[in-house]
Amino acid sequence: MENIDLKMMWHNANIQNLEDFSGETKIEEIIRMNHSKVTAKVLSDIKLKIILYSTISAIYFGLMFYAFVYLGLHLSLVSILPLSVVGLFLITQTITEINRFLVFTKNTDNLSLKESVICFHRKLNRIKTVDFLSYLILLYLLAIWIIRGYLRDIGGFQNLSGSNAMQTFILILIVILFLIPWFLKYQNNQRYRKIDSSLIESMKLLNDEED
């Protein structure tokens, strides 16, 4: 009885719903497009960001290469620091946007719903791993570079003294650099927590054997 009621309700609701879609659909025109308006806008935004970040990165790193390798410029750590932060920002933004683009363009429409849930979960985990690893590698490299640059500036390990304010600053900065990737990992987990738990729930729902 309850079942019949549900079907009846669904049937009645859809009679009205189909009336709401009153306009004639121009299928031929629609299938000529690559994406609908909203999706196309999202994708073009991502593409624009990728082009922007990669162009600026290419110019930036080209200039850095020219200055440090070709001209053999030697700058102190205080001058290198802001430059490296800019470079780091550009690289991580480019990686993030490319990652997003790959997720938005790959579809698994032909698979069963269960397989597509698994695929999407795998994709989400890959985004998180790539994000984490790219930040981890870049920030750790930057930290090592800063340590190396500072040691070179002061003339080696033997000149390290615990009472120097600059050394305390460098130490704090390095600790921050070492901690940022883990903080970002935590932040990423928080950001994707809702979708992650919904995917896990769906997988659980579909994986449970008949009980």
């Binding site: 299938i31 579809n107 919904s198």
Partner: protein
């Protein structure tokens, strides 16, 4: 001698162009045939797409846009439809996957890319058209998860457990068990307002 060789090469060149053109015309006529076939099938099953759209994007201002996205992705996936299953079964699988994928990808965006009303030409809401019962049903369905919504629509559209299992990717028995739970859940929501 050179003149003869040139003549042979020129003839070969013309033959190649003609063959290429024939191939292209042939594949173009196949493309037109496939497109007509697809449009006819979609016209026949358009109601399914509208129902799925309403199920996932009820009262969403971008409902028409998502409907278009579904059509586009169905067209892109159409070459993979190999007549192994019924067209409607394939259509349900692709359209449900697309709807769920749109929702998931939206949640991955830092902020939803919005078009202005002017840009998108969204009609103003018309109060009074929707009935209480329709709203109540959609609100109840909205409390289900995306996969649960897919299972319930397949049941409400008179699909067998075997077909539900095929589209969802679970066994026939499992489909029955899940469906009974979801139906009870939905009835409880409809009776109490929440599960």
């Amino acid at each position: 001698m050179i003149k003869i060789q040139f003549k042979i090469r020129f003839t070969d060149f013309i033959c190649n162009i003609r063959n290429d053109l024939n191939d292209k015309l042939g594949s173009y006529s196949i493309y037109l045939k496939v497109k007509d076939e697809f449009i006819a099938l979609i016209n026949q099953h358009q109601g399914i797409l509208h129902k799925i759209c309403n199920l996932y994007f009820y009262r969403n201002p971008y409902k028409e846009d998502y409907y278009q996205e579904m059509l586009i992705r169905l067209w892109k996936a159409y070459p993979s439809f190999g007549n192994q299953s019924k067209f409607s079964t394939w259509l349900y699988r692709v359209a449900l996957n697309t709807a769920i994928d749109i929702i998931r990808k939206q949640s991955l965006q830092p902020r939803h890319a919005e078009l202005s009303k002017f840009e998108y030409n969204i009609p103003e809401g018309e109060p009074g058209i929707e009935s209480d019962q329709k709203d109540k049903l959609h609100q109840a369905i909205d409390q289900l998860s995306d996969i649960e919504k897919a299972i319930i629509i397949l049941h409400l559209e008179e699909h067998s457990y075997r077909e539900i299992g095929e589209i969802i990717g679970i066994s026939e028995g499992n489909a029955g068990v899940r469906l009974n739970r979801i139906k009870n859940q939905l009835i409880k929501i409809l009776a109490n307002g929440k599960y």
